[in-house]
């Protein structure tokens, strides 16, 4: 348990009384991430990086519309990992607070829950976490990795390494199911027979991986096999423990995980995963001046978090052992792209910003991203090898991968 933040509660109350006086014009934006409940461990980091980005933009003069600067004023709500509450909070942000844009959601089910709300009230949502695709709403911009920006590059890499057998292991929910379905079709098109593809799902919170690891061991007998893992959260710990107990290593059977980023390693033992692979459009270890600035500025901001130019009081930020990861980078990309689009459209109106967003470019930590007409980014994909420190060593870079939500389109092209 965290200690009760007496100071921040006091500061919040004080701000409430003093809140009337304010200098510059502001534009309200919503932050819709779970700060309590099961998803809080992942989503709180996204809330932090969003507030950091607002501060970053405000410090540089805010968002300029009609020749006037507007400071970004966050409206942070807590949908508490409760999917119906996500819909209620989304509507509250759009209808009551009249925010210009919302940044939020992690799980697919939360996005599915708010999608009708954003379409009904004509809102604008930026979604930053790798997902299964098969969806395209005119009111949502997906800075997230689509399947062809994460899973397909990873499988291509494995094929290039001479792997011929694929064990698809995932938690039983829509993202692994859809990803694996697409991968199976893709692998078939690359000449991998059905008999060399295994597809297994385990329930949430599953801990007993003995049987599964035993079957992986048999499957990987010839040394030509790899595991493509979409296992979620905590279940990775018993899986990888069992995996190394059975004498399997990244040498004889590498595992590529799609759901483990640097931020997850704050809660997972990285040593058990060392040598195994990850695939994202961003790693904290990227060497670029933009990334050095992003990581450095964020670490500095964590020590004295505030949103310049507003009377919003930042609370509940833990500065210890913080890292950056792909969903965090993509959250930040979303804010910058939105700011540029607003300035291009010279308006906060959703219909105008939506048009202006298409074609927006931003040079981020992982290279330049471009927002396409299909509301997904052209981005760079990286394959990384897990280090015992919880960081990734980049072993392959695939430039300019255009995100495509509908698998029928990119599978057809192959």
């Amino acid at each position: 348990m965290k200690p009760i933040p007496v100071k921040t509660i006091g500061a919040a109350l004080l701000a409430l009384f003093l809140g009337a006086a304010r200098a510059a014009d502001t534009v309200k934006v919503g932050v819709l991430h779970s700060l309590s409940g099961t998803m809080a461990i992942s989503e709180t980091s996204l809330k932090d990086v969003l507030l950091f980005t607002f501060d970053e933009i405000n410090k540089a003069g805010g968002v300029k519309v009609g020749g006037k600067p507007y400071m970004i004023e966050p409206v942070v709500v807590d949908p508490a990992s409760n999917w119906p509450l996500f819909a209620e909070k989304a509507e509250q942000l759009l209808v009551k607070d009249k925010v210009s844009v919302v940044f939020g959601c992690w799980t697919s089910v939360s996005r599915k829950s708010v999608l009708p709300v954003f379409e009904r009230d004509n809102g604008l949502l930026f979604y930053p976490v790798q997902y299964e695709g098969e969806e395209l709403s005119k009111n949502i911009f997906y800075t997230a990795e689509a399947v062809n920006q994460q899973a397909i590059p990873a499988v291509d890499y494995m094929l290039g390494e001479g792997k011929k057998k694929f064990y698809l292991l995932g938690s039983d929910y829509v993202y692994p199911r859809t990803t694996n379905k697409i991968l199976k079709q893709y692998l078939k098109s690359k000449g991998i027979p059905d008999s060399d593809i295994e597809e297994i799902y385990t329930p949430f919170g599953h801990t007993d991986y003995q049987t599964i690891v035993a079957s992986i061991k048999t499957f990987s007998g010839g040394g030509k096999a790899c595991v493509i893992s979409t296992l979620n959260g905590d279940t990775n710990v018993p899986f990888f423990k069992e995996f190394s107990n059975a004498g399997l290593t990244s040498e004889n059977c590498p595992v590529v995980s799609f759901s483990i980023s640097e931020d997850e390693f704050r809660g997972l033992p990285a040593k058990a995963l060392a040598g195994h692979l990850g695939c994202w459009t961003y790693f904290m270890s990227i060497k670029s001046p933009e990334n050095a600035k992003f990581v450095g500025d964020f670490q500095k901001w964590l020590l004295a978090p505030k949103v310049t130019g507003t009377d919003y009081t930042v609370a509940g930020v833990d500065p210890k052992g913080r890292v950056t990861c792909s969903p965090m980078n993509l959250s930040r990309m979303g804010v910058h792209l939105w700011k540029q689009a607003v300035e291009k459209a010279d308006s906060f109106e959703v219909d105008k910003v939506r048009v202006a967003l298409v074609g927006q470019k931003f040079k981020g930590p992982a290279g330049e991203v471009v927002m396409q007409e299909n509301h997904h980014l052209v981005n760079t994909a990286f394959i990384g090898e897990t280090l015992p420190t919880g960081q990734f060593k980049i072993i392959k870079t695939i430039k300019k991968v255009a995100g495509e939500p509908f698998s029928a389109k990119f599978l057809g092209a192959n």
Partner: protein, 394 residues
């Protein structure tokens, strides 16, 4: 002596029974007529206008209040603490949700005749004869069948579980644990994509209810009014039940089940009947909840949600009939407010509230007037000299 002489008000309350019909009538008019009029008839921009969003949120609270009444019927009136009531709430929700899913038609992402999740899970391969629709989904095309299922499915599941549990004389904390296990098992089952109910994502993106667009303010208003009517009916039913002989036996079971048993009553049958009633009430609440919030998924039947419902009853005052309604609406309104205004701190606020209520208000919010009266009566003779407190033992 009439049996109604035994009908005691909840412990601690005075005699507000004579005032109660007026209070209820006033609140019913406010909830059923004034609020919808403020939404539909008062023009937007007026200070008295109630937004459709706000009305929708109220509608959700009313469904929670229905669920809380069911919990109270079991816990407050009969002494059976079920920690799995949300299972029945969700089953009712799923039953109506299935119908709403089938009514989406070709408006989904894939423009197919079957719900989207059935397309990407390749159901047409599994169920080729029905175009991908699992056989148990087919009758849900009929809205009447769905409405019957809203009542029947929770009733059947409740009856089966209740029969096994009460017949084996499982009581008290053991029953609570079993009911929790049941709803947990059901959650895991519904999470599975192979179980054909949409897995983790559940059922969502509904377009129409009985042919009306779910997004229209008038539809939302109608759903709100339906929830208010349902709550009023369930309230009336629970109220009426306390005045009957059945209600008397209920309370006798609560206070001393063995005595009732040895008096020759088959308590298991009474308990089973109450359990099934509570399940049906929960199912009805769930069915109206789903079109209003737009989603039903396995997390809605989780153990934590069922525990929340018990907390509403405790906060409002279990045993009384108004208490659970007050608790459900009050706690959820507070949650709605705090998750917006104090996004980072609200769990502390709510936690402190629950601790304060359990420590200082064992009868919940409805117990406050009696509490004040008892404190006042204790203060009056306070003029008498008080004995010095003995020193604490070393």
């Amino acid at each position: 002596m009439k049996s109604s002489d035994y009908i005691s008000a909840p412990p601690g309350t005075g005699n507000p029974a004579r005032r109660e019909p007026w209070v209820v009538a006033f609140i019913a008019v406010l909830g059923l007529v004034v609020l919808p009029l403020m939404n539909g008839a008062v023009p937007e921009g007026s200070a008295f206008h109630l937004s459709t969003f706000q009305l929708g949120v109220f509608g959700k609270y009313l469904c929670y209040a229905v669920l809380a009444l069911g919990v109270n019927l079991l816990w407050g009136q009969t002494g059976i603490l079920s920690l799995g009531q949300c299972l029945f709430f969700a089953l009712g929700g799923y039953a109506l949700g299935m119908h709403l899913m089938l009514m989406i038609g070709k408006l989904g992402q894939y423009h197919a005749d079957i719900p989207d999740f059935m397309v990407f899970l390749e159901f047409p391969k599994r169920y080729p004869s029905s175009g991908g629709l699992p056989p148990h989904w087919i009758p849900f095309r009929n809205p009447l069948f769905a409405m019957v299922a809203v009542v029947a499915v929770p009733a059947i599941v409740g009856a089966a579980f209740g029969w096994l549990a009460f017949r084996s004389r499982i009581k008290g904390v053991y029953f609570s644990i079993l009911s929790q296990a049941l709803t947990y098992a059901a959650t895991l089952l519904f999470f599975r994509n192979d179980f054909t109910f949409g897995g983790n994502n559940g059922l969502t993106d509904f377009k129409t209810v009985l042919g009306y667009d779910v997004n229209l303010p008038s539809t939302k208003r109608a759903l709100y009014i339906a929830s208010a009517v349902l709550l009023l009916l369930v309230y009336g039913f629970c109220r009426w039940l306390t005045t009957t002989k059945f209600g008397l036996i209920q309370r006798a079971i609560r206070d001393s089940e063995n005595r009732v048993l040895f008096s020759g009553y088959a308590t298991a049958h009474f308990k089973l009947f109450v359990f099934v009633m509570a399940a049906v009430i929960a199912g009805l609440g769930g069915a109206l909840y789903v079109p209003q919030v737009g989603i039903i998924n396995p997390s809605d039947m989780g153990t934590d949600k069922s525990l929340e419902a018990v907390v509403w009853c405790a906060v409002g005052g279990r045993g009384s009939i108004v208490g659970p309604i007050l608790g459900a609406i009050g706690v959820n309104a507070l949650k709605s407010y705090a998750t917006h205004s104090y996004a980072e701190q609200w769990p502390y606020f709510l936690g402190i509230l629950f601790i304060l209520v359990t420590v200082f208000l064992p009868d919940g919010l409805v117990g406050i007037p009696a509490r004040i009266r008892s404190i006042a009566s204790r203060l009056r003779p306070a003029a008498q000299p008080t004995e010095p407190t003995p020193p604490a033992a070393p």
